[in-house]
C-alpha cells in the first residue's frame, strides 16, 4: 500500500525519477488525447449530429458556460487550461476505481504542480487583460501595507488547492484500502462509488476555484479601467 504513487518507482537516474505519478499521468494523457482524437474525427457542423458528438459538445459547452457564469468574462481564452484541469482531475479520479491504477491526483506533487500552474495562470491572465503595472498595483490596494497579506493570500490559496485535492483523493484511496482489509465485500464498493462522486466533486471544486481566482484577477483589474472610461 502506497500513500502516494510517487513512491512507486519504475526507473531512477540521479534526480530523474520515473515514478507511478508520471507513468499514470502519461497513461491518462494518452487515453485523453487518443479519446479526443477518436471522438473529434468526424464532427459535423450541421445536419444530423451523432449522439457522441452531442455529448462531446454538451461537455465542452457546459464547461464553457460554467466558466462564464463564474468569471463573468468570455472564457474562450482560458477554457483549454481550466477545462483540461477539470477533465484531467475527473478522469484521474474516475480511473482510480480500476484495480492497479493509482490516480496521479493522489500525489501531492501532482496537486502541487496543478496548484502552481493555477498560481502562475492567475497573474498571467490578469496581466494579459489589465496590463503589468495595473495588475501589480492591485497588490497594494487598499493600501501599501496590504502587500504582504495579498501575497500570503495568493500562496495560501495555492497551498489550499494542492492540499485539498491531495487530501481528498489520498484519504479516499486510504479509506478504500483500509475497508478492503476490514470488510472486503460491500463497503469497499460503496466507498469506491462514493470516491467516484467525491472525485468528480473535487475536480469541479478545483476547476471552479481556479476559475474564480483567474476571473477575479481579470475582473478586478478591468473594473477600474471601465469605471474610468465611464467617468470620461
Amino acid at each position: 500500500m502506497h500513500i502516494s504513487p510517487d513512491n512507486i518507482i519504475y526507473w531512477q537516474h540521479g534526480i530523474f525519477v520515473l515514478n507511478g505519478t508520471i507513468v499514470f499521468t502519461w497513461l491518462i494523457m494518452a487515453v485523453m488525447a487518443a479519446g479526443s482524437w477518436l471522438l473529434t474525427r468526424q464532427l459535423s457542423p450541421g445536419g444530423a449530429v451523432s449522439r457522441r458528438q452531442s455529448i462531446l459538445e454538451a461537455v465542452v459547452a457546459t464547461i464553457e458556460r460554467q466558466l462564464k457564469d463564474v468569471t463573468h468574462v468570455q472564457p474562450r481564452g482560458f477554457l483549454p487550461f481550466l477545462g483540461t484541469l477539470f477533465l484531467f482531475i475527473a478522469v484521474s479520479n474516475t480511473l482510480s476505481v480500476v484495480p492497479g491504477f493509482h490516480a496521479p491526483t493522489g500525489s501531492l506533487s501532482t496537486t502541487t504542480a496543478l496548484a502552481l500552474l493555477v498560481f502562475l495562470a492567475v497573474p498571467i491572465y490578469g496581466i494579459a487583460r489589465a496590463g503589468f503595472s495595473t495588475y501589480l498595483s492591485n497588490y497594494f490596494k487598499p493600501s501599501f501595507f496590504m502587500l504582504p497579506f495579498n501575497i500570503m493570500g495568493e500562496l495560501s490559496r495555492t497551498l489550499a488547492l494542492a492540499v485539498r485535492l491531495f487530501g481528498n483523493v489520498m484519504s479516499g484511496n486510504m479509506i478504500g484500502a483500509i475497508l478492503l482489509l476490514i470488510a472486503p465485500l460491500f463497503l469497499p464498493i460503496l466507498m469506491q462509488l462514493l470516491g467516484l462522486l467525491t472525485g468528480f466533486v473535487q475536480a469541479y471544486i478545483f476547476a471552479i476555484l481556479a476559475a474564480v481566482y483567474i476571473g477575479a484577477a481579470m475582473e478586478i483589474q478591468s473594473t477600474p479601467t471601465k469605471r474610468h472610461k465611464e467617468t470620461r
Binding site: 534526480i15 502519461w26 471522438l39 473529434t40 483549454p80 483540461t84 506533487s109 504542480a113
Partner: protein, 251 residues
C-alpha cells in the same frame, strides 16, 4: 517524502502538454464545429428575422390593402345604397305618378262611362219620348191632320221649287205619300204643280208605307221630302246635341 521536485516539474510539463494535446484534439475541433454551427444558426436566425421582417411588411401591406378594400367596399356599399335609395325613390315617385295617372285615367274612364251611360240613358229616354210622340201622333192622326201635313209640305215645296227649275222642267214628277190621298186632295195637288211646273208631265201619285206620316216629291235627281219620323229624328238630334253639354255641366 510527499513532494518530489522533479515530479512537480514533470507534472507541470505533462499537464501543459496535455493542455496542448486537448486543445489540438478536443477543444479546437469542438469549438470550431460549435462556432460554425453558431454562425449557421446566427445566419439562419438573421435570415429568419429578415423573412419575419418581410412577412411583417407583407402583413402590414396586406392589412393596409385589406383596410383599403374594406373602405372601398364600405364606400361602394354606401354608393350602392344611395343609388338604390335614389332609384327606389325615383321608382316610388314614378309609380306614384303612374298610379296617379292610372287613377286619373280610371276616374276619367269612370266619368266617361258615367257620362256615356247618362248619355245613353238620356238618348234612350229621348228616343223613347220621340217614339212615344210618334206613336201618339200616329194614333191620333186623322183626315184633318193629313190635310195639315200636306199644307205644310206644299208650303215647303213652294219654297224649294226654284231648285227644280220648275218653269222649264219637263220631266216626270212623282208624289209619294205614306198614307192614301183622297181624290180631291190629289186634284188640288195636281193643279198646284201645274202652276209651278207648267211644262212637266202629269204628277204621278204613289203610296209608300215606308214614309209613314210623310210626303215626298221626286223630280229626276231632285227630291223634297217631309215626314213625321224624319221630323222627330231631327228634333231628337237637336235635343241630343243640346243634352251632353247640359249633362257635363250637371256632372
Amino acid at each position: 517524502m510527499l513532494i518530489d521536485g522533479f515530479t512537480i516539474v514533470a507534472q507541470i510539463v505533462n499537464f501543459l502538454v496535455l493542455v496542448l494535446l486537448l486543445k489540438r484534439f478536443l477543444y479546437k475541433p469542438v469549438m470550431r464545429v460549435m462556432q460554425e454551427r453558431e454562425e449557421r444558426i446566427a445566419q439562419a436566425v438573421a435570415q429568419s428575422e429578415i423573412a419575419e421582417k418581410e412577412a411583417r411588411q407583407r402583413a402590414a401591406t396586406m392589412a393596409a390593402q385589406q383596410q383599403a378594400f374594406l373602405e372601398d367596399k364600405a364606400k361602394l356599399m354606401a354608393d350602392a345604397k344611395m343609388d338604390v335609395d335614389r332609384w327606389r325613390e325615383e321608382k316610388i315617385e314614378s309609380l306614384r305618378t303612374e298610379i296617379n295617372d292610372l287613377r286619373l285615367a280610371w276616374l276619367d274612364q269612370v266619368d266617361q262611362d258615367r257620362q256615356a251611360f247618362l248619355m245613353k240613358l238620356k238618348g234612350d229616354a229621348v228616343r223613347h219620348v220621340m217614339r212615344m210622340g210618334d206613336k201618339i201622333i200616329r194614333d191620333l192622326a186623322d183626315q184633318q191632320m193629313e190635310s195639315r201635313i200636306i199644307a205644310v209640305f206644299m208650303k215647303k215645296m213652294e219654297a224649294d221649287k226654284k231648285d227644280f227649275h220648275s218653269v222649264t222642267y219637263t220631266g216626270p214628277i212623282r208624289f209619294l205619300s205614306g198614307f192614301e190621298l183622297s181624290a180631291e186632295t190629289k186634284e188640288n195637288i195636281r193643279e198646284t204643280f201645274i202652276q209651278w211646273f207648267p211644262s212637266c208631265r202629269p204628277v204621278a201619285f204613289e203610296v209608300s208605307q215606308s214614309l209613314g206620316m210623310g210626303l215626298e216629291v221626286v223630280a229626276r235627281d231632285k227630291k223634297v221630302a217631309w215626314n213625321l219620323e224624319k221630323y222627330l229624328k231631327d228634333l231628337e238630334r237637336e235635343i241630343l246635341l243640346v243634352l251632353p253639354s247640359k249633362t257635363r255641366n250637371a256632372a
